[in-house]
């Protein structure tokens, strides 16, 4: 059946809202857990109590954030089933085991041991507790590993094939799915972005204590840890997470072309458009400022491979849609009971493009007999809006390079032991706290919006993936999410800011700012 546009739009809106909201908390968990492990390692090695206090105080902020990550994470697991039922049926055979592996390997590890991190200080030896902290850190990164393998498969579905008897995709090779090049690049890029987020958070807040001239020893050490870890991480994000993942697979290539507003395929090596004004209707970019050779080098790691332009990619989509129509026609015969050798052979020959045939389902019940007009529309659907991709990508890159500057300066001045005198840098670090979140959300926007019109690139269109539910049900759930998520965010921010203001005094050790002053603290 043809699914109403409104159901598809609302389902996408809800997924976008809840996934992006979840990702406010995930990167901080990823980064903070490693920073805590580093701080506690120093404590165990040196025996200096200030490092224990650092682990405990930043651990409190970690805990406030972790609770939200757990809350919003369960939503996503429920949501595949509640809102993307056809997707769940169609790719459960591949996506499901990846998600289950995340449960076994990551969720249990982090969720079971996080309790010991908070309550095990007096019940475990120093080394045991340190092991727990490291296990939590690895648990969070394992979680990222599996979910990015799942997402990488959605971007570039390898190791699987369509089965006409069960009417779904089925896994052929776990190794191909696990070592999917797109997934590997995405994993490194995303966890490193998480480490940057944790570092920026600790760096900015420590800078604020230094500006306030309180708890100097505590703040200076925290600042140094964040500067070192942050610099290494931001370099990883930039170097390892570049556009090299965008050359495998059709949709990834379209994404790259949209990000770069490459309308035409040029002679290699392609030049990189730094800035310009993409115009979708005219299919050109006005006032483009270009760097010769750069894009070819970044994307293909060579000077003789072309980077395909949007117009050529759309031509390719048209060809694949025609193939997909044949596949769909043969599938109909198979389903009707004609399982002859000839039908099976013809289906197998074209089935790789079955998904392109399904793109026509938006326009007709019978993709095999689609009109030229429908084919043209479906091919146009495979090209995302270029301007949002172009601009949001540049926003991410700008945020990334700004952070590189801040971390590099912070690291340099820490090494020369003058960081707390550079008030301009401290102020800048405070103001830069939001940047990693802006960069992360922008990155996900590019990855997911750029994959449209697919949920599984080239395999399953978004318009077919949704559940057969009503708009009323969708409004109920969206309303519920808006209500709970807004309330929780207000509460979380209130607590977070309250504890940041209190600083290490919240540990009640008697050693810090509010307790060493005559007046008793409020809390």
């Amino acid at each position: 059946m043809i699914i109403g546009d409104e159901i598809v739009s609302l389902s996408r809106l809800q997924f976008g809202l809840t996934a992006m909201y979840h990702f406010l908390f995930v990167p901080l968990t990823l980064g903070m857990s490693f920073i805590l492990a580093i701080m506690e390692s120093v404590y165990v090695m040196t025996g200096k109590p200030v490092y224990k206090d650092m682990t405990k105080f930043w651990g409190k902020l970690f805990g406030i954030n972790f609770a939200m990550g757990v809350t919003t994470g369960i939503t996503l697991e429920f949501q595949f089933g509640t809102n993307w039922a056809y997707y769940s049926h169609y790719v459960g055979d591949i996506f499901g085991p990846i998600l289950a592996s995340e449960g076994w390997m990551a969720f249990f590890l982090e969720s079971t041991l996080v309790g010991l991190f908070f309550f095990g200080w007096d019940r475990l030896s120093k080394v045991q507790h340190l092991a727990v902290t490291w296990a939590v850190a690895f648990g969070t990164s394992f979680s990222a590993l599996w979910i990015l393998i799942a997402n990488g498969w959605m971007q570039h579905p390898v190791g699987s094939a369509f089965n006409y008897e069960t009417l779904r995709m089925e896994m052929q090779s776990f190794a191909d799915v696990f070592f999917n090049p797109v997934a590997q690049v995405k994993f490194v890029h995303t966890v490193a972005a998480g480490y940057v987020t944790g570092s920026m958070f600790v760096l900015g807040i420590s800078a604020w204590y230094l500006l306030q001239r309180r708890d100097l020893g505590f703040a200076r050490r925290s600042f140094s840890v964040a500067a070192g870890f942050g610099l290494a991480s931001v370099l990883s994000v930039i170097v390892l997470g570049d556009e090299s993942g965008y050359t495998s697979g059709e949709t990834q290539r379209i994404k790259l072309a949209a990000i770069e507003a490459e309308w035409e395929t040029h002679e290699p090596p392609a030049s990189f458009t730094v800035i310009g004004f993409p115009d979708q209707d005219a299919e050109k970019t006005h006032l483009a400022l270009k760097i010769p050779y750069a894009l070819g080098l970044i994307a293909t790691r060579s000077i003789d491979e072309p980077v395909l332009g949007i117009k050529d990619l759309r031509e390719d989509s048209t060809r694949r849609i025609r193939n997909g129509m044949i596949a769909y026609g043969e599938l109909a015969k198979l389903r009707a009971g004609d399982k002859s050798e000839a039908t099976r052979a013809r289906f197998d020959q074209h089935k790789v493009d079955l998904g392109y045939g399904l793109l026509l389902k938006k326009y007709t019940e019978e993709p095999a007999n689609a009109s030229e007009e429908m084919i043209r529309k479906a091919a146009a659907d495979t090209i995302p809006r270029v301007a949002p991709m172009f601009w949001v990508f540049r926003l991410m890159v700008a945020a990334g390079f700004t952070m590189l500057f801040v971390f590099a300066m912070s690291f340099y001045f820490c090494a020369t032991r003058v960081a707390d005198q550079k008030r301009w840098l401290l102020r800048l670090a405070v103001w830069c706290i939001p940047l990693p979140w802006i960069a992360s959300e922008a990155g996900w926007f590019v990855a997911e919006y750029g994959r449209q019109p697919w949920t599984i690139s080239g395999v399953l269109p978004t318009s077919m993936s949704v559940s057969s539910i009503s708009t009323e049900q969708l409004w109920f759930s969206i309303g519920g999410f808006l209500f709970f998520y807004t309330a929780l965010l207000v509460i979380e921010m209130y607590l977070m800011i309250k504890y940041i203001r209190l600083g290490p005094s919240s540990l009640h050790t008697g050693r810090y700012h509010f307790e060493t002053k005559a007046a008793a603290p409020a809390l």
Binding site: T82, S88, F118
Partner: protein, 378 residues
């Protein structure tokens, strides 16, 4: 290594194991959350109650997450049909669960009594609503749900949220809540001393008979009031999964299913026997032993459900032929084998460190201990 049929049976068993593990662990967390505002008479007592489960509830909840993941991986059509069909109910469970992480972690981070009291009621919602709704869900699974598929295997659900709230399902909701309260009260008694210990004991005295009575009523209702479609033809237990390929005829009752395999009666016997013994031992002597009995009893009841429904996973009340069975709603053989090996490797690891965490955090929690450690504990 294993044939397709064997793998399907293995995964039917594993799915049961995950459901039992979730009910046994999160069950007492839910129960204690629901009892919190009533058993704790002041802030320190309530904090003591919260901290009996504070360090371990999060790991316990992962069994629910894993159950979702296992359904997705192994029975994708069940996951798709159940979650989208029961859309509103699933979201209400989810919204209720929202109260838990923040409730545990945020409640004692501020001193304002209104703040703390509000979160206590939040933990109450997070503890009471999921067992009621999951009980209602089980009640509807037993009766069958109105769903069907089109020729693309797209699931459609033709019922409504309020249609779920029929008398039998509501009774199951009450059973679900009482089960968690009962199991939770035993655990609370095990982990507290003094006044809280006594109150948990007094609750036990009442909860035991209430649970056994409602459970007996529900069991009789299932035995005499519900039925299962009879499979007439199907492609085979090792055929490719497609639920539209089978035909069914008139229904048979649950008692027929048990009568055909009398050994199955062991499950309800263990269920009722375990719960009864749990009630007696908790009152007369060893609370630890009572917890073991209670766990046995809950496992027995869940096994009874599984045995009774076999080979069905999800029964369609509107299109019985579209019902999902373990033979026609599973993932591919490749994926079942893959998921099997992942489970075989990780289940022992998870159980090992979970046991260690419980061992480290074990010991009774009293208001005095909370006071001594008030800046660290929940």
């Amino acid at each position: 290594m294993f044939d397709y049929e064997t793998l399907r049976v293995i995964w039917w068993i594993f799915t049961g194991v995950v459901i039992i593990a979730f009910t046994l662990t999160s069950g007492f967390d839910f129960g204690i959350g629901a009892l919190l505002p009533f058993v704790g008479r002041n802030d320190l007592e309530r904090r003591a109650v919260i901290n009996t489960i504070g360090g371990t509830w999060e790991g316990n909840q992962v069994w629910l997450v894993l159950l979702g993941g296992a359904l997705f991986a192994v029975w994708p059509l069940v996951y798709a049909t159940l979650f989208s069909g029961l859309y509103i109910a699933m979201l209400l469970v989810l919204f209720a669960l929202f109260f838990r992480p923040a409730g545990f972690d945020y409640r004692s981070k501020l001193e304002d009594p209104r703040w703390r009291n509000a979160w206590d009621w939040g933990l109450f919602i997070g503890g009471a609503v999921p067992p009621i709704l999951l009980g209602v869900l089980v009640g509807n699974l037993v009766q069958g749900l109105p769903f069907h598929f089109d020729s693309d295997l797209r699931p459609y659900y033709s019922g409504s949220f309020f249609g779920l709230l029929n008398p039998f399902a509501l009774l199951c909701g009450v059973v679900g809540l009482l089960l968690c309260l009962f199991h939770g009260a035993i655990y609370l008694k095990l982990r507290t001393e003094g006044a809280l210990h006594e109150r948990a004991l007094n609750l036990m005295r009442v909860l035991g008979p209430a649970l056994l009575a409602t459970l007996a009523l529900a069991t009789l209702w299932v035995a005499y009031g519900t039925s299962l479609p009879e499979i007439a033809t199907m492609p085979g237990t090792d055929a490719a999964s497609n639920p539209l390929a089978k035909t069914v005829t008139n229904a048979h009752s649950w008692l027929d299913q048990f009568a055909a395999h009398p050994w199955m009666f062991a499950a309800p016997a263990v269920g009722f026997g375990g719960l009864l013994l749990a009630w007696r031992t908790a009152i007369t002597r060893n609370t630890g032993l009572a917890f073991v009995f209670s766990s046995l009893g809950i496992s027995g009841m869940l096994l009874s459900l599984g045995f009774g429904l076999f080979p069905y996973l999800l029964i369609s009340s509107s299109h019985p032929g579209h019902s999902l069975t373990i033979w026609d709603a599973s993932s591919s053989q490749f994926t079942l084998a893959l998921a099997f090996w992942i489970t075989v490797v990780f289940l022992p690891i998870v159980l090992t460190y979970t046991r260690w965490v419980y061992k480290v955090l074990w010991g009774s929690v009293t208001p005095e201990k909370v006071l001594n450690d008030q800046h660290t504990l929940y």
